[in-house]
């Protein structure tokens, strides 16, 4: 796995899509995003403390990518449950909630011509976010808020990527 760390970026998804001939499983990690986004351009609140990354996926069949997006939610939820003893709820296919509040979102973007030219999966996980703005505090939460302590972002990142690789191997076989 090759990891590129950024400080403040517009969006790791945008960065990933701009790289020419990116290598598979390249991970772009940002400390902060000023224009993090989800589906249909919905804003993803991305202050310092959270875990925001995009991964260049291997070129796969579009049906497999569809499955992988769903499996990514399971990978993230499993990691949260097993490491932090929390009860995550997956809102299929790509949002994860804890206590009725959103803690993670997943977005897969493909560039498709005759075949899939590029696939990028972006994951935003609210890890060490201490406080949300008023308009989000009733609908969003973080591991820090739920656990009352900080978590290790890099360890979580590695575990998610390991899980994704395993899942993709399974569905591509």
């Amino acid at each position: 796995m090759k990891l590129i760390k950024y400080g403040k970026v517009f969006s790791t998804q945008l960065l990933a899509k701009k790289i020419k001939n990116p290598r598979t499983w390249l991970v772009l990690l940002a400390k902060e995003q000023v224009a993090g986004y989800g589906r249909k351009g919905a804003v993803w609140f991305s202050p310092k403390g959270g875990l925001y990354f995009s991964i260049i996926l291997p070129k796969s069949k579009i049906e497999d990518l569809q499955t992988l997006t769903i499996l990514a939610a399971f990978v993230v939820a499993k990691m949260v449950k097993e490491n932090f003893n929390l009860e995550p709820l997956i809102k299929l296919p790509n949002d994860i909630f804890i206590s009725g509040k959103k803690i993670a979102g997943i977005l897969t973007e493909n560039v498709v011509g005759k075949d899939v030219k590029l696939s990028v999966i972006g994951i935003g996980l609210n890890t060490n976010i201490e406080k949300f703005p008023k308009d989000l505090e009733n609908i969003a939460t973080s591991l820090k808020i739920e656990l009352g302590k900080r978590v290790n972002n890099e360890k979580i990142l590695k575990e998610i990527i390991k899980g994704l690789k395993e899942q993709l191997k399974t569905i591509s076989e």
């Binding site: 249909k40 579009i62 569809q66 997006t69 296919p93 977005l107 897969t108 973007e109 493909n110």
Partner: protein, 127 residues
């Protein structure tokens, strides 16, 4: 049979006909060339074409997967380059940027924003 050919911006009117004697007449821009079955009445020097082979058939952009068209970035008449982003197709919460596999002019857009499409359905025709 009459046809028009555009080569490097210059238009050529070509008429092909066959006489009763079985000769083939080809008229290019008023200049006539007559070909018999085994002979040529006027030798025509034809330079080895250097321009690339062009495909005049329809170029269709199809939906790779069933979903909803969430954005259209081109209009009919637009000239698009290869790999240019044409539209956004949302499917199972994946966003798919559909890019052109061809270079050409957008002849027909067969879909509208927010329209549901099936995998394999033709979305845009280029020429």
């Amino acid at each position: 049979m009459k046809l028009k050919l555009k080569i490097k911006g210059k238009e050529y009117e070509i008429e092909i006909s066959e006489s009763k004697e079985g000769e083939v007449k080809i008229n290019v821009g008023g200049k006539e060339f007559v070909f018999g079955k085994d002979e040529e009445k006027e030798k025509v020097l034809i330079a080895k074409p250097t321009f690339p082979k062009r495909d005049f058939s329809k170029k269709e952009i199809k939906a790779p997967i069933t979903g909803v068209i969430s954005e259209i970035f081109v209009k009919e008449g637009y000239y698009v380059k290869k790999n240019q982003k044409l539209l956004l197709l949302s499917a199972m919460k994946m966003e798919n940027e559909i890019v052109s596999d061809f270079e050409g002019r957008v002849e027909k857009i067969l879909i509208k924003k927010d329209q549901k499409v099936k995998g394999g359905e033709t979305l845009i025709v280029l020429r």
